[in-house]
């Protein structure tokens, strides 16, 4: 169980892993995530299931190296097993045929966006996707996204690939050009905040997939709480997707920094050990 079958580097910081877990492969739906733990000293951390193959019994994860846990995961090789892997967690994305869907993914957020784009396309929607990253190396899964999108716009901060500018530039262009019925955004919290402000201006219903800090992922601890529409909700069981226009992104950004000092120290110690 949990054996790594394939490992692909999208860049030196972004890695795709295909992991054996037949039960999760069978029961997962787009939008679900898993919680992992690497080694007996490891912490529990969440990653979205970006794809699954129920026949082979595998799930696909795409991870960006941030600190200790993501580094420990990426340090595993094909043939190694992940100590603990539990899921599928979270509510699946609500998919229906509503017309035109604008999907926007930032950085590693494109990975969890992929199965959602695929599902919306298969449900009969017109899907326009904007993928964005700081530079060319950080643009991932472009071909796969193209396969399930009617149109793709690539944006990079430095213009090294696609067009230069932030994700919101590409999004606004579509919105001004055609009627968009729903929007879905996944990426860094700050990107989701500005994407959400944009679609609010045009009154387009928008879902954001939040990446709060988690411990158990089963609704037991409340570490992942966010304010949505003035109410406290738990990202792991009530989300991870919420009505973006109701999310208090400033509070979320603040909470993401809650363990910054501890994380920095852990990363330092870890890199010294290597």
């Amino acid at each position: 169980m949990n054996k790594i079958i394939e490992k692909t580097y999208f860049s030196d910081k972004v890695v795709q892993l295909v992991v054996e877990n037949p039960m999760i492969a069978k029961s997962r739906k787009p939008g679900n995530f898993v919680i992992l733990r690497i080694g007996e000293d490891g912490e529990r951390f969440p990653l979205t299931i970006s794809d699954a193959d129920p026949v082979r019994g595998t799930i696909t994860l795409v991870v960006q190296i941030m600190g200790v846990s993501s580094s420990k995961l990426v340090a595993l090789e094909v043939g190694d097993s992940i100590t603990d892997l539990v899921g599928p967690l979270g509510k699946p994305t609500h998919i229906e045929n509503i017309g035109t869907v604008l999907a926007a993914g930032g950085g590693v957020g494109v990975a969890p966006l992929l199965p959602i784009v695929e599902a919306f396309k298969k449900a009969g929607n017109r899907v326009v996707t904007v993928i964005a990253a700081r530079n060319k190396d950080l643009i991932i899964l472009e071909d796969e996204i193209r396969k399930w999108s009617d149109e793709v716009i690539v944006m990079t901060d430095d213009g090294s690939h696609g067009r230069q500018g932030l994700v919101t530039v590409g999004m606004e262009e579509i919105i001004q050009r055609e009627k968009v019925d729903e929007c879905i955004v996944i990426g860094p919290a700050i990107m989701m905040k500005f994407a959400s402000l944009l679609t609010k201006k045009y009154s387009i219903p928008t879902q954001a997939s939040l990446n709060s800090i988690m411990v158990d992922g089963t609704g037991m601890c409340g570490a992942c709480r966010v304010t949505v529409g003035g109410k406290t909700r738990f990202t792991c069981v009530d989300g991870p997707e919420f009505d973006a226009h109701q999310v208090d992104f400033d509070e979320m950004l603040m909470r993401l920094g809650g363990y910054k000092a501890e994380e920095l120290r852990a990363t330092e110690i870890y890199s010294q050990k290597l």
């Binding site: 411990v215 158990d216 089963t218 409340g222």
Partner: protein, 495 residues
């Protein structure tokens, strides 16, 4: 599940018990002082998250305490125990020096005596119904301490006896969750011959015993020992497995499971919904205790971080609050405070925990209620505003209702707040079983005798039924569910 009086009488009339009674006069027994549990000194113990505070009775202390028990004709103490342990029998075995037989007596009805001896609120259960309390002004026989003594003695003797199990009947049953309710269910079902698998969402078995109750009160090694016994009896454990998510109940039915025991606990933490409660440094007791107990966050070599505070406020007055505040002290808090809106008399925590907390230097700010939190520029909590409370008329729980006193507001510097104001039933299982009847609070409705739910092959017990109770009540539920599921499945296969 009260024990059959005939059986009790028969046991009491056994020669050895009669002889033991006649050896010491009741009057002499009554003159003996109640034993004091040896404890680690407060100054030492606040430095160690992982050293148990109660050190356990010495053999001679246990023998003397056992002699206090009068071996009553009508042992009311048993009525106070949710699993009806034959209390005088096990205590008299201790007095006799037959400690292993005492341990075996405990195991007749209690699968985890070493745990219960440590965490039962004895003063509200068995000990509250002891002859000494009911008929004299002397303190009860220290039933809990003696129970722990016998169980620890057995564990340390290396001669732990694995209970006999019936011939395997090949029928598969599943327990959902691995807290005390499931463990006692699994132990009984495997004795009846069933093929039992316990499914647990987390990566460790034990439920609250592992992620909630700290090492200084219940060492994990004690729990692990009991788990090992269950394994030896044939119980299977699956971690990282969320029933209803990893696979559905239908999937499990297809795999041949014929009976289900749902004991998924009361895992959902409540917050007070007051301004500022989502600032960094304000966390639920579940998060705080899980980080420290399950993830080992206080240790340097573990990746999971935990926030440390100098001025720590813990909101609440239950066991969870006591465990949190004492953990905060052990992680270096200079000031650790309990903030509770009623008075100390109403605190639901075990009396012993309150005593230990006080010895360790915890400040008790009773009749105080938080109103709002403040934070620094980074969003880390820096202070709170509270008001003082008075007690009004009794409310629906029978406790006097706390009422805010006007103009009593004050502020407090805090840099870590742990919210321990209760939990709600885990909604996961009910949410994937539309036919399962639940109350408006989200607890599963069961037949009180049989623990059977509205879906006939599903039984339930523990906190998911009671909404938050005790280890021993959860275990009692597990036993009753096992007995009745056994009848149910046998009837079904006879039809």
């Amino acid at each position: 599940m009260s024990l059959n009086p005939e059986y009790l009488k028969e046991e009491r009339n056994q020669m050895w018990r009669a002889e033991l009674r006649s050896k010491t006069k009741n009057k002499e027994r009554m003159l003996i002082q109640r034993v004091k549990m040896p404890e680690l000194a407060p100054a030492v113990r606040v430095k160690h998250q992982d050293r148990e505070v109660n050190m356990g009775l010495e053999l001679n202390q246990a023998l003397t305490e056992a002699a206090r028990c009068m071996d009553c004709v009508n042992p009311t103490c048993i009525e106070g125990c949710p699993v009806s342990i034959n209390i005088p029998k096990f205590i008299k075995y201790i007095e006799q020096g037959e400690i292993l037989l005492a341990a075996a007596t405990l195991k007749e009805t209690n699968a985890l005596p070493a745990v219960c001896g440590r965490v039962c609120p004895q003063e509200k259960q068995c000990e509250s119904r002891c002859f000494y309390v009911e008929k004299t002004d002397k303190p009860a026989v220290a039933i809990g301490h003696l129970e722990r003594f016998a169980a620890d003695f057995e564990r340390n003797s290396g001669s732990s006896n694995i209970p006999d199990t019936a011939k395997p009947n090949g029928i598969k049953v599943a327990a959902v969750g691995s807290g005390p309710a499931s463990l006692s269910f699994a132990g009984d079902m495997v004795k009846y011959g069933y093929d039992v698998t316990v499914f647990e969402a987390l990566h460790e078995i034990g439920g609250v015993l592992k992620y909630g109750i700290p090492e200084f009160r219940l060492p994990n090694s004690v729990v692990d020992f009991e788990l090992e016994n269950l394994r030896k009896m044939g119980v299977k454990f699956e971690t990282n497995y969320i029933v209803g998510r990893t696979s559905s109940f239908d999937d499990l039915r297809e795999e041949g499971y014929q009976g289900f025991f749902i004991a998924s606990g009361a895992g959902l933490p409540r917050f007070m919904e007051i301004p500022g409660e989502n600032y960094n440094g304000i966390l639920s007791s579940n998060e705080y205790l899980t980080r420290v107990n399950l993830m080992g966050a206080a240790m340097d070599d573990k990746d999971t971080p935990v926030l440390k505070g100098k001025n720590v406020a813990v909101i609440g007055g239950g066991n969870t609050a006591m465990d949190s505040v004492r953990t905060a002290l052990r992680l270096g808090a200079q000031r650790a405070m309990i903030i509770y809106r009623r008075s100390e008399a109403e605190m639901p925590a075990r009396v012993e925990e309150v005593k230990h907390a006080k010895e360790e230097g915890v400040e008790f700010m009773t009749l105080c209620n938080p109103l709002e939190y403040f934070a620094d520029e980074k969003g880390r909590v820096s202070g709170m505003r509270l008001n003082r409370m008075g007690l009004g008329e009794p409310d629906s729980s029978g406790r006097r209702r706390p009422m805010p006193i006007e103009g009593s507001e004050f502020e407090l510097d805090v840099d870590l707040v742990v919210v321990a104001v209760g939990v709600s039933p885990n909604p996961l299982v009910p949410s994937c079983l539309p036919d399962l009847k639940v109350t408006k609070w989200g607890t599963i409705v069961v037949d009180e005798e049989k623990m059977q739910s509205s879906i006939s092959e599903m039984f339930a017990g523990g906190d998911i039924v009671r909404g938050g109770a005790t280890v021993i009540l959860a275990m009692g539920d597990g036993r009753r569910a096992a007995e009745n599921m056994d009848h149910y499945l046998k009837n079904k296969s006879n039809q």
